[in-house]
C-alpha cells in the first residue's frame, strides 16, 4: 500500500497513450486510414483483460490449493475489472467497426466469441452472488473461474482463427503489427498494455481493500454485539 510508484507510472503511461495515441505518427493504409489508432485502445484493452483474467485464474488456483479467503477476494475483483475492460473493448471495437466495416456489430465469429466470453464471466458474477456462506462461495466460484478461463481462451483466440472472419488477426487476416514499418505503433502499443494492466490492478486493489475493511468491521460488530 505504501508503494506508490506504480500508480504514478500507471497515470503517466495512460496520459502518454492518450496524447501519443491521438497525435503520434502512424502507418497510412487504405480504408483503415487513421482508424488504425484504435489499436492502442481496443486491442490493448483486450490484451490487458486477458492478462487480468489469467491472473484471476492463478489466484483461484492458489485459493483452491491454500484455502485463504484473501486469494478469492483478489480473484473475483480482478475478474470484475477484466469484465469492465472487456465491455470497454467491445465498445471501442464497435466504434471502429462502424467506420471500417460499416456495421457496429457484423455477424462475425470473433465478435460473437467476445460476447459469449463476457457472458461467461457475467455468469461467474451471478454464481458468486447466489451463495451466502463465504468459504463455500469462494470454493465453488474458484472452480467455475478456472473452468471458464479454459473455455474462454479457445472461444476468443483459437476458434476464430479456424474460420473465416473479418477481424484482423483471425481467419487468415494479418494484424496491424505487420504494417508497422517504423515501430511507430509499438512505441505506444506496449506502454498502453502495461498502463491498462496497472489500471486494472489498481481498480482491483481498491475494491479488495474495501472488502477487507468491510469484513473487519463486520467481525467487530459481531464481537461487540456478543459482549
Amino acid at each position: 500500500m505504501r508503494k506508490i510508484w506504480w500508480k504514478i507510472l500507471c497515470i503517466v503511461l495512460i496520459f502518454y497513450v492518450i496524447v501519443m495515441g491521438i497525435m503520434g505518427p502512424v502507418p497510412h493504409l487504405a480504408i483503415i486510414n487513421e482508424s488504425i489508432r484504435n489499436t492502442y485502445y481496443h486491442v490493448a484493452l483486450w490484451l490487458a483483460m486477458t492478462t487480468l483474467l489469467f491472473a484471476s485464474m492463478v489466484f483461484s488456483i492458489r485459493y483452491l490449493s491454500k484455502g485463504r479467503i484473501n486469494d478469492d477476494d483478489i480473484a473475483s475483483e480482478l475478474a470484475k475489472s477484466a469484465i469492465f475492460f472487456g465491455i470497454l473493448g467491445c465498445l471501442t471495437g464497435s466504434v471502429w467497426a462502424n467506420y471500417t466495416w460499416g456495421d457496429p456489430w457484423p455477424n462475425d465469429p470473433k465478435l460473437n466469441g467476445a460476447a459469449v466470453g463476457i457472458l461467461i464471466y457475467l455468469a461467474y458474477l451471478l454464481l458468486r452472488s447466489s451463495f451466502e456462506d463465504e468459504q463455500r462461495k469462494a470454493r465453488i466460484s474458484s472452480v467455475y473461474n478456472i473452468f471458464a478461463f479454459a473455455v474462454f481462451i479457445p472461444i476468443i483466440y483459437i476458434l476464430p482463427r479456424l474460420t473465416d472472419s473479418l477481424h484482423p488477426g483471425s481467419g487468415g487476416n494479418s494484424t496491424f503489427g505487420s504494417y508497422d514499418f517504423n515501430n511507430d505503433i509499438r512505441k505506444v502499443f506496449y506502454p498502453a498494455i502495461i498502463g491498462y494492466i496497472l489500471l486494472g490492478l489498481w481498480l482491483a486493489e481498491l475494491r479488495v481493500r474495501i472488502k477487507r475493511i468491510n469484513r473487519v468491521r463486520e467481525e467487530k460488530l459481531v464481537s461487540t454485539s456478543r459482549i
Partner: protein
C-alpha cells in the same frame, strides 16, 4: 445399491490405510469404483423409471411441437433449419436430463459416497453414465425427428459420429456445471446461465459438422471439426477430473 466394497471395513477407515490403499493399486481401485458407480446409476435409473421415460417423452413431445409448428409451411423447412432445430432440441434435452444428476441424490447418500469412493471415480462415472443417457436420448430423438420431419441427411455415418461426439461433449460439460449449480439455491436458473455460454462453441462446431454430414461432403472436409470437438471434449474432461475434488469437499 450393490457396492462391491464393504463399507465398514474400507469406508470409514483411517487416513493411513486409505493412502496406503491408493498408493498400492490406485488405478485398478478407481476403475473398480467407476464400474460399481456406473452400475449403481443404471440400477437406480431402472428402479425409478419415471425419470428416463420422462426424458424420452420430453424429446418426443418437443419434436412433435416443432413438427406441428412448422406444419403450415412444410416445404420451406430447408436442411439448415432442420439441422439447427434438431440440435437446439438436443441441447435443451441435455440440459434438462443432466441437471438432475446431482440434485436428485439426497444429502445423506452423498455423504455416504463421500466416505466410500474417491471424487475422481464419482465424476468419471457420472460423465460416462450421462454420456450413455445422452446417446440414448439423442439417438432416439434423431430417429423420431427423422421419422416426423423427413430425413435429408446425405452421409449417415458421419451424422452418427457427430451425434456420438456431441453426446459425450454435452454430457461432460453439463455434468461439471450441474455439480456447480446443485450447490446453489436457485439451481435451475443457474444451470442454464452457466452452461449455455460454455456449451456454445461446442454446439456451433457440432452444427457445422452436422451440416457437412447433411450435405454428404467428403470426410476430409470435416476432419478439422472432428479434431476440434475431440480436443474440446478432452480439455473439459481433464478439467472436470482435476476440479471436481474441490467441488466435492464442500
Amino acid at each position: 445399491m450393490h457396492c462391491e466394497r464393504n463399507p465398514t471395513s474400507k469406508g470409514f477407515d483411517l487416513v493411513s490405510t486409505i493412502t496406503e490403499l491408493q498408493a498400492s493399486s490406485r488405478l485398478p481401485v478407481i476403475l473398480n469404483e467407476i464400474k460399481t458407480l456406473i452400475w449403481k446409476e443404471v440400477t437406480l435409473e431402472w428402479r425409478q423409471k419415471y425419470a428416463l421415460s420422462g426424458m424420452l417423452l420430453y424429446v418426443v413431445s418437443t419434436v412433435f411441437v416443432c413438427y406441428l409448428s412448422f406444419n403450415l409451411r412444410r416445404n420451406q423447412l430447408t436442411p439448415i433449419v432442420w439441422n439447427t432445430l434438431f440440435w437446439i432440441i438436443i441441447l435443451f434435452t441435455a440440459v434438462n436430463a443432466i441437471a438432475k444428476s446431482f440434485s436428485q441424490e439426497r444429502f445423506g447418500r452423498l455423504l455416504y459416497y463421500y466416505n466410500l469412493c474417491s471424487p475422481q471415480a464419482i465424476i468419471i462415472s457420472k460423465i460416462v453414465y450421462n454420456s450413455l443417457i445422452m446417446l440414448l436420448l439423442s439417438g432416439f430423438g434423431f430417429v423420431f425427428y427423422a421419422f416426423v420431419m423427413g430425413n435429408p441427411v446425405g452421409d449417415m455415418g458421419l451424422y452418427l459420429i457427430c451425434i456420438l461426439l456431441a453426446a459425450i461433449g454435452f454430457a461432460s460439460v453439463l455434468t461439471l456445471v450441474a455439480g456447480i449449480a446443485s450447490k446453489a439455491d436457485n439451481s435451475a436458473t443457474l444451470m442454464a446461465v452457466l452452461s449455455f455460454p460454455i456449451i456454445l462453441p461446442m454446439l456451433l462446431m457440432t452444427i457445422r459438422l452436422a451440416k457437412n454430414a447433411l450435405d454428404g461432403l467428403d470426410w476430409s472436409v470435416s476432419s478439422d471439426e472432428i479434431t476440434t470437438l475431440l480436443s474440446i471434449d478432452l480439455i473439459v474432461i481433464t478439467l472436470s477430473y482435476l476440479l471436481f475434488p474441490y467441488l466435492w469437499r464442500s
